[in-house]
């Protein structure tokens, strides 16, 4: 479904990704783990068109999206929940969700999806007229995921959804991810909480200073002694 072929990405003169390749099959949960500054967020930003790779290509369902704008990429069915939630702070919860469906024209479908999101996150329904900026961290995270779902994505990119959340919410968020996946959305997940991520993922990639160093079945990766030492805390 998603195919990243040997991309190099730069921030000005600094190279952040070195010939990174990665693949996600339809229906999978794939996780990407790596230390701080390894380039995980950079990879997601490149996929969703916020940054351009200098070399290499990215295909989504056989369409070359390497040079496409974010707008076109969203249209094709990729949705990105960025690092740090990035909700629109001075808009209400409802307006945030509506913006998630910005490119869609099917009023009826939007209405249905809105209902679905509210069913999944009852908390958001309670707060639908509150300004997003005043929500607590966990609520904002739910909103960010809900907003991404509003575009009916085929592929959902999640960047550290559990960061800064209370343990109880971390469990909750992972449950939700699993659920969304089981309803047919493919997921590419970045996590510091490698333990949790590996436990729900089908496959995993390990990235170190901009290079993919390991990939394979999530269970195998979790059992790898090197990974254990470096990312799972021994």
């Amino acid at each position: 479904m998603l195919k990243v072929n040997g991309i190099d990405v730069y921030y000005g003169a600094i190279q952040a990704l070195f010939s990174v390749s990665l693949e996600v099959q339809k229906g999978e949960i794939v996780t990407l783990i790596g230390a701080n500054g390894a380039g995980k967020s950079t990879l997601l930003k490149t996929i969703s068109g916020l940054i351009r790779p200098r070399t290499g290509s990215i295909y989504f369902e056989d369409t070359d999206i390497t040079k496409k704008s974010s707008m076109e990429i969203v249209k094709l069915g990729i949705s990105h929940v960025p690092e740090g939630r990035r909700v629109f702070p001075e808009m209400t919860v409802l307006e945030n969700l509506e913006l998630g469906a910005y490119l869609r024209k099917d009023k009826q479908g939007i209405k249905e999806d809105l209902k679905k999101v509210f069913e999944r996150f009852p908390r958001l329904y309670e707060r639908k007229n509150q300004l997003a900026g005043t929500l607590s961290g966990g609520e904002q995270q739910m909103l960010a995921i809900g907003r991404a779902l509003m575009s009916r994505p085929k592929l959902l990119l999640l960047d550290e959804p559990s960061m800064g959340l209370a343990p109880i919410l971390v469990t909750e968020i992972f449950k939700i991810i699993k659920e969304i996946n089981s309803q047919g959305t493919t997921i590419l997940l970045i996590e510091q909480n490698a333990h949790m991520a590996l436990s729900i993922a089908d496959r995993a990639y390990v990235i170190e200073t901009g290079k993919i160093v390991l990939s394979g079945d999530a269970k195998e990766i979790a059992a790898n002694p090197e990974v254990k030492k470096a990312y799972l805390g021994g």
Partner: protein, 294 residues
């Protein structure tokens, strides 16, 4: 008492002029946080385009107004594309300098093309004076038009920004550009539209003011532009009703100060009052004083 009412009418008229320009100012600011110093000069260009349409092409007021608004909308988009867009990721103040550059450019280009001397704007609407309170208070029909148009434009603009899809896109862009991109919003187009609307408004303002004072010149945008900027900040910059409120307040304050105090010190006293109010309300009249969440 009648004098006071007359002064109030004078103040509201002057305020309408400020508000009209301030609306476009605040709108552009609201989206990209740029003090568009060239706004006052787009206002001037608008007046000149209408002037040319009326005197040389012999068009009526409405077609002249529409042509001028379209022309300025395009001009605004062009200015954004060449002078501001390349600086979108630079410090805000860099774009302020190009804005000053654009402002000087428009003023002096117009001086070159049309001469520095002022032009008389043709009389296109029938004027009527209404005398109230036994003739002690005079209201001109143009004053009424000016006020009504300003309020209508404010409401329209507020509606666009608050309730339409493009308005929502504008607000999204202003709050988080990258996140807006991730929603599938075309940020460049949205900013372009913003400039188009803001500049068309400025053009409308230019035509109305040209009509009201029936005189235009290449530097006519400087002072109102500055005053409108002050009005926009005063009302809470980026807030559309704030721009109008700020414009009216400034107009009325200036008028009352010169009407009841000393006209010599009008600007000084008006500024002093503004500063005093700002000290009490540091984010403008309608600005929410949001304490940064730490």
């Amino acid at each position: 008492m009648t004098t006071f009412i007359q002064q109030l009418i004078n103040g509201i008229t002057l305020g309408s002029v400020y508000a009209l320009i301030a609306l476009g100012y605040t709108m552009v600011y609201g989206i990209i946080k740029l003090i568009n110093f060239a706004h006052g000069d787009v206002f001037m260009v608008g007046a000149y385009i209408a002037f040319l349409c009326v005197t040389y092409l012999k068009l009526g007021l409405l077609p002249a107004l529409i042509i001028s608004m379209i022309f300025c909308a395009l001009l605004g988009m062009l200015i954004e594309k060449f002078a501001y867009k390349p600086l979108r990721n630079s410090p805000r103040i860099s774009a302020l300098i190009t804005a000053i550059g654009v402002s000087l450019f428009l003023e002096n280009l117009m001086q070159l093309l049309m001469g520095a001397d002022s032009r008389v704007f043709p009389r296109l609407v029938n004027e009527k004076n209404y005398h109230l309170f036994h003739g002690k208070v005079v209201v001109n029909s143009k004053q009424i038009y000016l006020l009504i148009i300003t309020v209508l434009l404010m409401l329209l603009l507020n509606f666009i920004v608050k309730n339409t899809k493009i308005g929502k896109a504008m607000r999204a862009v202003s709050q988080d550009m990258d996140a807006a991109r991730l929603m599938g919003i075309n940020v460049d187009t949205t900013i372009s539209y913003t400039f188009a609307i803001g500049s068309a408004l400025a053009a409308a303002g230019g035509v109305l003011v040209g009509l009201y004072y029936n005189t235009i010149n290449p530097l006519m945008g400087v002072l109102p532009g500055l005053k409108a900027f002050i009005a926009a900040v005063f009302g809470g910059i980026g807030i559309i009703p704030g721009a109008m409120l700020g414009g009216f307040s400034l107009g009325v304050i200036e008028t009352l100060v010169s009407g009841y105090g000393s006209s010599m010190y009008k600007d000084a006293v008006a500024f002093a009052l503004l500063i005093l109010i700002l000290i009490l309300k540091p984010s403008g009249l309608l600005g929410k004083n949001i304490k940064e969440k730490v």
